[in-house]
């Protein structure tokens, strides 16, 4: 077959949004499986323990935990707003929103470090009891993912500044960031409150 008779051009990798979203959904789904497994492990340990080590943490860490929840929820909200301005075609505002999310995310991590320090000073350490182990395991792993999320936000910011931005970039980073918020809320409800 000579190339002159070709009907179609050389196949190109698709740039459509749905393909990227699908990959991202599978990826986030896998992360979700990881956290589901860890939360389930925590559940098993906790149910078997009967009394969950009867620990009490001080007021300051508890306040920090609440503050952190508020921070990460608002960061998610801001990122959602940025998505809206992207849809409206207002990239400048979107950039500001993304930058704000980045700041909130960094603030969240900073607060986490302060929280860990306060807790360690209180004697609530990782090898003290299962409650401590679970707390640091889940919040630490979540923190690592937030670090990855911050990198993704920076990448998004870079794209926005360089005008190489496409709508799907924002949506994909958004999926991951909102997922992290959901994980934190699950952590907060299941580990801290219950």
């Amino acid at each position: 077959m000579s190339s002159g008779t070709l009907v179609k051009k050389t196949a190109q990798l698709p740039e459509d949004n749905f393909t990227s979203y699908l990959g991202m959904i599978i990826g986030v789904g896998s992360f979700a499986m990881l956290f589901i497994a860890l939360f389930a492990s925590y559940g098993v340990l906790r149910i078997r323990a009967g009394v969950w080590m009867g620990y009490t943490i001080g007021t300051l860490p508890l306040i920090l935990l609440w503050v952190n929840t508020v921070i990460i929820c608002s960061s998610s909200y801001i990122l959602f707003k940025s998505g809206k301005s992207i849809k409206a075609g207002n990239l400048n505002t979107a950039r500001k929103y993304v930058f704000a999310t980045l700041c909130f995310g960094a603030g969240f991590l900073l607060m986490q470090i302060i929280l860990w320090n306060t807790l360690i000073a209180e004697g609530f350490i990782i090898s003290a009891h299962q409650a401590g182990s679970v707390f640091y395991m889940l919040s630490g792993l979540h923190g690592l993912h937030v670090l990855g999320g911050l990198a993704a936000l920076m990448w998004l910011l870079l794209k926005l500044t360089q005008n190489k931005f496409k709508e799907k970039h924002g949506v994909m980073v958004g999926m991951f960031w909102h997922f992290l918020t959901v994980v934190w809320i699950a952590f907060f409800i299941l580990v801290v409150i219950v």
């Binding site: 190339s3 070709l6 009907v7 179609k8 051009k9 050389t10 196949a11 190109q12 990798l13 698709p14 459509d16 749905f18 393909t19 699908l22 990959g23 599978i26 990826g27 789904g29 896998s30 992360f31 979700a32 499986m33 990881l34 497994a37 860890l38 492990s41 098993v44 340990l45 078997r48 323990a49 080590m53 990782i126 090898s127 003290a128 009891h129 299962q130 182990s133 640091y136 395991m137 792993l141």
Partner: protein, 574 residues
């Protein structure tokens, strides 16, 4: 044009974005570890039948274990434990996974569905290099003063935690390496699933995909679902090893109350049982396709086979408990798991019968890939049927943790998957490298593998039936194992022959790369899309997006005159 752009050596061969190059990279990695893990198996066999004797020169006795506490060149019990731990780990995660899923997943999926490449080429490249990093971490663990991990490939805690009394650093490295390997697999899975969902050529319905792609698709789904679960297990195991937590330690050695060793077993097998199917589904797919190609007739009950594979995939997620019958599982749970496990035999026997149906009324050509594909029917038949003993609670009480289990999973995972992999290598080598593998050496390799392999693995089951329990350094310690000692030596001899023949395969592989006969475009007369492209396949694969009109197995169609196959993109002559 994407196929003519200039590429430096680095971007062409090392950090390539081309799925075919990445597939080859995985293949090299897999074959290296296959030989490496196989060599460890030889050392294990030597130690089992020549206990506490120095290694001979042909097992590198002059170089290995020179500083062994039990004497130069002698494998002691600690070294033995490390050997079988790493043999299992390497064979499963560093040999079979890269060859079947990494190499042929990458190579076959885009070509078979008519796609220019994987949908996320960068992710694909990162996937390989993560695997490479994992391999480096794993190999470095051999350099540790106390040696590498020694807790078995399952690494049950508390043995694998600091209270277990085995080298801890090796265990930590093992956990890290496995986490990295899992990450690599996961990236591959994301790529494969998205590619298959989004990049199928026009006309390529799901039920027109070759069964190889079907197998790899289902494998990737299982990977995406269950690899994160083992990652969770590995994370808590890692924390137990390095951070002083005791999630998985209980009993009098525990300083933190409330840990649970069984938690790890559950997490491990929730992943571990699907892992068995992760490994074998691609092999099933490859064998189904190959039988059809070499029987020169359509795969019998193609849709039923695909549906059976889906059913097994679905069932595989809910049967993990049959690995844990002896852990004091509650009767209700045990019975449920047993019932679910036995259900798998329905779809398995249906698609096995479809394999037979493919051969029925065919015109069988016994090229090397066909020999390996048919031998998979033999070894998988045996491996699958012997699974029944392990699925049944009562017989499993006796056979659990004996060599019977070892023999069973070597038949299903090692023999079936490996022979499927060999079939794939012999089949696609011409398309991958443009040269044929030497068929004479291939046939020697086949018979030299098939016969000794059965002598080794079948006798493992015989020994297990005689009560030989697993992972013991010296079977002569026990009176009731005296009758198996002779058999043990016989198996060792067979295993050495099996090992030696694999060296011939490696030689054939390298030799044919350089001196092999130049391959034709479609040496086997196969109908799937990868055989419609010329060699060398350009970056971008197809010069024009193929329009798929046929199913994947159009052989010996009555209206065909000059040839007996019809490519998937080729309309039927009217």
């Amino acid at each position: 044009m994407s196929n003519s752009h200039e590429q430096s050596f680095w971007s062409k061969y090392i950090f390539s974005l081309d799925h075919k190059v990445i597939g080859k990279q995985f293949l090299w990695l897999g074959i290296f570890f296959l030989l490496f893990g196989g060599f460890q198996a030889m050392l294990i066999r030597w130690s089992l039948s020549n206990n506490m004797e120095p290694l001979p020169w042909w097992l590198l006795g002059d170089f290995l274990y020179q500083s062994s506490p039990v004497g130069a060149g002698i494998i002691g019990p600690d070294a033995y434990n490390q050997l079988f731990t790493m043999h299992g780990t390497i064979m499963i995660f560093w040999a079979i996974t890269p060859i079947l899923i990494g190499a042929f997943g990458n190579f076959c999926i885009p070509l078979q569905i008519g796609a220019p490449d994987m949908v996320f080429p960068k992710l694909n490249m990162i996937s390989f290099w993560t695997m490479f990093l994992a391999s480096v971490v794993l190999l470095f663990s051999y350099l540790l003063p106390e040696g590498t991990a020694a807790g078995g490939w399952t690494s049950y805690p508390p043995l694998s935690t600091p209270v277990g009394g085995i080298p801890g650093q090796g265990q930590t490295m093992w956990t890290l390496a496995l986490t990295l390997a899992g990450t690599s697999t996961l990236m591959g899975a994301i790529n494969y699933i998205t590619t298959i969902v989004r990049l199928r050529a026009p006309g390529m319905d799901y039920f027109k995909m070759p069964l190889t792609t079907w197998g790899l698709f289902l494998t990737s789904i299982l990977n995406a679902l269950f690899v994160p679960i083992i990652a969770a297990g590995l994370i808590i195991l890692l924390l137990d090893n390095i951070a002083g937590t005791q999630f998985l330690v209980a009993g009098s050695k525990a300083t933190i109350p409330g840990g649970d060793p069984l938690l790890y077993q559950h997490v491990f097998w929730i992943f571990g049982h699907p892992e068995v199917y992760i490994l074998i589904l691609p092999a099933w797919g490859i064998v189904s396709d190959l039988l059809s190609v070499f029987a020169r007739k359509p795969a019998f009950g193609y849709k039923v086979t695909a549906i059976c594979m889906c059913t097994i995939t679905a069932l595989s997620g809910v049967v993990w408990g049959h690995h844990m019958y002896t852990t004091g599982m509650s009767p209700l749970l045990g019975k449920t798991f047993m019932f679910l496990t036995l259900l798998i035999s329905i779809p398995s026997s249906i698609f096995f019968l479809n394999w037979l149906g493919t051969l029925w009324k065919g015109a069988l050509k016994f090229d090397v890939p066909m020999l390996f594909a048919m031998s998979v029917m033999w070894v998988f038949g045996l491996g699958g049927l012997t699974g029944l003993y392990n699925a049944t609670i009562t017989s499993d009480i006796y056979l659990h943790d004996t060599y019977f289990v070892v023999g069973h999973f070597h038949y299903t995972m090692a023999a079936s998957v490996l022979f499927g992999g060999f079939a794939a290598i012999y089949f696609w080598f011409p398309k991958m490298f443009g040269r044929d593998l030497d068929p004479t050496m291939g046939k020697i390799h086949f018979w030299g593998s098939f016969i000794p392999l059965n002598l080794v693995f079948f006798n493992m089951m015989v020994m297990g039936y005689a009560g030989h329990h697993r992972r013991i350094f010296d079977p002569s310690e026990f009176e009731f194992l005296k009758p198996v000692l002779g058999l043990n030596d016989f198996m060792t001899t067979s295993a050495f022959i099996l090992g030696a023949v694999q060296v011939l395969f490696a030689f054939n592989f390298v030799w044919s790369l350089v001196k092999g006969k130049l391959a034709e475009k479609n040496p086997w007369g196969a109908a799937t899309l990868e055989w419609t492209v010329d060699h060398p396949i350009p970056h971008g694969n197809f010069s024009a997006t193929p329009q798929v009109v046929n199913g994947p197995h159009e052989y010996s169609h009555p209206s065909l005159k000059d040839k007996d196959w019809l490519a998937q993109s080729e309309p039927l002559p009217s």
